[in-house]
């Protein structure tokens, strides 16, 4: 009798555990996608509206004098920092069919809505190293295929001041604590970070790309040459 009772309890426990695991996988793989999709749709509408407004009040371009005889003056198009959690840019990776709204911040709450820009780094298109992080396998999985990017592939970021085109230079795997990948660089760079391998947060896949076209391309080239 006791054996039957133990078997019954064990059976129900295993059924419960299985249901819990299926519910967990369903939540992570489907529910989080729906949450991110809703956030992206709303953010996309808000972003278009915000761009229309902010493009009429952009900061004045800065004229910078250089010591280069053929290029005595260059123009830097600055951009105002944005509030944490706000959508401010769009990332397009044509080879991976990625088209996502980018938010300011890399907190858990922000990254659930889409890729996020690390606030301590320059905005995309500005001189330095702009860092954008994104989920790999949950919450819309914006960077699911990031490992397929090869040197030369194009990444475009649209911000209020225009479209900034970057070309992939390298990809690398690092530890989640390797913050050196976010350090300042001469020129204008974009660093994308995501979890690696898929369905694990053990490592980070890093994509490093260099600005090749955009409002601040000339400025970045001069800074790079002077470094």
């Amino acid at each position: 009798m006791a054996v039957r009772r133990v078997a019954r309890v064990l059976g129900w426990t295993l059924i419960g555990a299985s249901l819990l695991i299926f519910a967990f996988l369903g939540y992570q793989l489907f529910v989080t996608d729906l949450i991110a999709k809703g956030s992206q749709q709303q953010a996309s509408r808000e972003l278009d509206h915000w761009w229309t407004e902010v493009r009429t009040t952009l900061p004045s371009p800065q004229i910078v004098t250089t010591s280069i005889p053929t290029l005595p003056q260059i123009v830097l198009y600055p951009e105002e920092p944005v509030d944490e959690g706000k959508s401010f840019a769009r990332i397009l990776i044509p080879s991976l069919e990625v088209d996502e709204v980018v938010f300011e911040g890399v907190g858990r709450k922000t990254l659930k809505k889409g890729p996020g820009h690390m606030p301590s780094t320059p905005l995309p298109g500005q001189p330095g190293n702009a860092v954008i992080s994104g989920h790999r396998t949950t919450y819309g999985r914006p960077f699911y295929d990031l490992n397929e990017l090869a040197p030369g592939d194009l990444i475009q970021i649209e911000t209020a001041i225009g479209i900034h085109s970057y070309q992939v230079r390298e990809s690398l795997l690092v530890k989640p604590t390797d913050v050196w990948v976010t350090e300042e660089r001469a020129g204008s760079w974009l660093t994308l970070t995501t979890c690696h391998p898929r369905y694990s947060a053990k490592q980070r896949l890093i994509i490093v790309a260099e600005l090749v076209e955009g409002p601040n391309f000339e400025y970045a080239q001069v800074v790079l040459a002077a470094a």
Binding site: L20, Q28, G116, S133, T182, A201
Partner: protein, 48 residues
């Protein structure tokens, strides 16, 4: 489920209210648990 319902005190409406509250709390607990465990699958990709 039947035995749990039978053990609840009070009239039908009170039992129903308790059951709804318990189910909502369990679901909220599961979401919190899934969110925490989800970081093992994908923490968002940020470094640092």
């Amino acid at each position: 489920m039947g035995s749990i319902w039978g053990r609840l005190p009070g009239p039908f409406v009170a039992k129903l209210a308790v059951m709804v509250i318990v189910i909502v709390l369990v679901l909220l607990g599961l979401v919190v648990l899934f969110e925490w465990a989800g970081d093992l699958l994908d923490s968002g990709g940020a470094v640092g």
